[in-house]
Amino acid sequence: MGEDLNYTMEDAVLLKKGAEANLYLKEWYGRKVIVKQRIGKKYRLPQLDRHIRAYRTVHEPQLMHRAKKAGVSTPTVLLIDTENAEIYMEYIEGKQLKQVLNEMPPEKRLKISSSIGELIGRLHKNMVIHGDLTTSNLILTPEDQIVLVDFGLGELSQELEARGVDLHLLKRAFESVHFKFAQECFNKVMESYARIIGEEEAKKVLEKVREIEKRGRYVSERKQR
């Protein structure tokens, strides 16, 4: 791989440093791309480390693809490099929902909450669990479309627990950053979620959310970066 292939990370700008991966913004064949690079861990055996990173580099786009097929917008994956554990994907113009939810008019906020519920319903109906559903991972485009990003903690599951945790994380995110209207937003989410996944299942998931809350398991909001 030479520099002529525009494969170097030298011109990349570090956007986010995570525990598992770093996110870079760079120019690639005339377009803006996000490169998600999974970091090697010194504590693991090198061969195990390579295997895990390569596996996840493949697994994450698979989940994104599955989400897309279910009708949920996710960034388009442009390149998967298992050798370097990198995913090249489309850069989404827009803002993290976290940054804009508080400032928007109430009707719009409810409309967006409704779309979020629909989106989660579609994911869950197709067995996709996002694993880190916060308002930081929902991008609102200038055309008011919602794009879901970062499937790094995602999995395939139909378990009530996994569904419950997804919605619980979202509820926590609402409560910690958007506390004034957390409840009405979450109610709206559940309303459209139920429309997609079915009233019966939605009721069970909501019960699970309450149980998880009581357990207090994920009480702390993920550190917003």
Binding site: A19, L45, S157, R215, R217, K223
Partner: protein, 340 residues
């Protein structure tokens, strides 16, 4: 003559699984005695009823031994604490019965202690670490926890079997026998140091949780095929399992930004696990502490010390409400003594 106003000694009884243990700790946190008497099964794992019988047979002797080591008489005890759960029903009930009898006879207060909380508290007491992310790994539990808003919150845990359980079953199937003072984990660790080839095993971290049952099935399959030296199997088992534990611990650390990592529970003695966590702690510029060996296993001292903390916060238990709690989760327990 007893000083009614100044409380001094707490006797703690631990009996959640195969160990019956009595510890005596002073109210200012000095451990005076910690006697452990383990039930060793002839074959297979822990048979709850047989373990409970063992506990009731040795109880009197272990209590007497603890008093002797602490150089106090029974009427100097001010408080009795017992492990109220989680654990095996018959074993827990035996410990609880002994505790109730002592409390009633000496007319002193009784405190019920959560076994998992006790593992964290003894780690904090003996290492001096403050407000850590705790990795608690033992025969019955595998939990990553940190304090937040009044409780120890579970950030990740096993979805099926505990790490110690996984190791024990593997070692037993490989033909090793448990001996007093040489747990299966120690046998695996010794063999693993001679391992050279890594054999790929299922690596299962789901979100923040872990699963070990599929891995156990896979390695038992490899064992029965007999194509790999036992040293390589142990090596691969350790590397895979400990990488999973370390990954989840690192995530919890990054998430909570706590100032350190505490390793506790029976598996804490493993040097390889220690070195992995130490690497992570160094990368995050945080402290790393391991509970001393004698307090890593299930022990009475940790129950006594946690009992004192609870008692100081008014959490005593009337005898008629001192039923055991088999599935008492760590994150159900209020810990008002922890401030941060």
């Amino acid at each position: 003559m007893r000083h009614e106003s100044v409380k001094n000694y707490c006797l703690g009884i631990e009996s959640t699984a195969d160990d019956f243990s009595v510890g005596i700790v002073t109210f200012d946190g000095r451990i005076l005695a910690n006697v452990i008497n383990a039930y060793v099964s002839e074959s297979g794992g822990i048979h709850p009823r047989e373990a409970a019988q063992h506990h009731s047979q040795v109880a009197e002797e272990v209590v007497a031994q603890a008093l002797k080591e602490a150089k106090i008489s029974s009427d100097q005890i001010d408080l009795v604490a017992f492990s109220q759960g989680p654990g095996l029903g018959p074993c827990l009930r035996t410990g609880a019965t002994v505790a109730r009898a002592i409390a009633a006879y000496l007319k002193i207060p009784l405190v019920g202690v959560n076994h998992c909380v006790a593992h964290i508290e003894i780690g904090k007491l003996t290492t001096g670490i403050r407000d850590p992310v705790t990795l608690y790994v033992s025969g019955g539990n595998t939990i990553v926890a940190a304090f937040d808003a009044g409780r120890y919150r579970v950030f990740g845990e096993t979805l099926d079997i505990a790490v110690g359980n996984c190791f024990d079953v593997f070692a037993r199937e490989a033909g090793y026998r448990q001996k007093e003072g040489l747990p299966f984990g120690a046998i695996i660790e010794r063999l693993a140091t001679k391992g050279q080839t890594y054999i790929s095993l299922p690596y299962s971290v789901k979100g923040m949780d872990m699963s070990f049952s599929g891995l156990l099935t896979a390695i038992l399959h490899l064992l029965r095929k007999g194509e790999h030296p036992i040293e390589d199997l142990c090596y691969s088992l350790q590397e895979t399992v400990f990488s999973m534990l370390t990954e989840v611990t690192e995530r919890a650390l990054a998430h909570t930004e706590k100032p350190g990592i505490l390793l506790t529970g029976g598996v804490a003695a493993n040097k390889r696990l220690q070195s992995m966590l130490k690497t992570v702690a160094e990368e995050h510029n945080t402290k790393f502490c391991v509970v001393p060996k004698q307090y890593a296993l299930d022990n009475g001292a940790m129950i006594a010390w946690t009992g004192i903390l609870a008692y100081k916060n008014g959490l005593t238990l009337p005898i008629e409400q001192s039923f055991v709690r088999l599935k008492w989760r760590l994150d159900e327990v209020e810990v008002p003594w922890v401030k941060t």
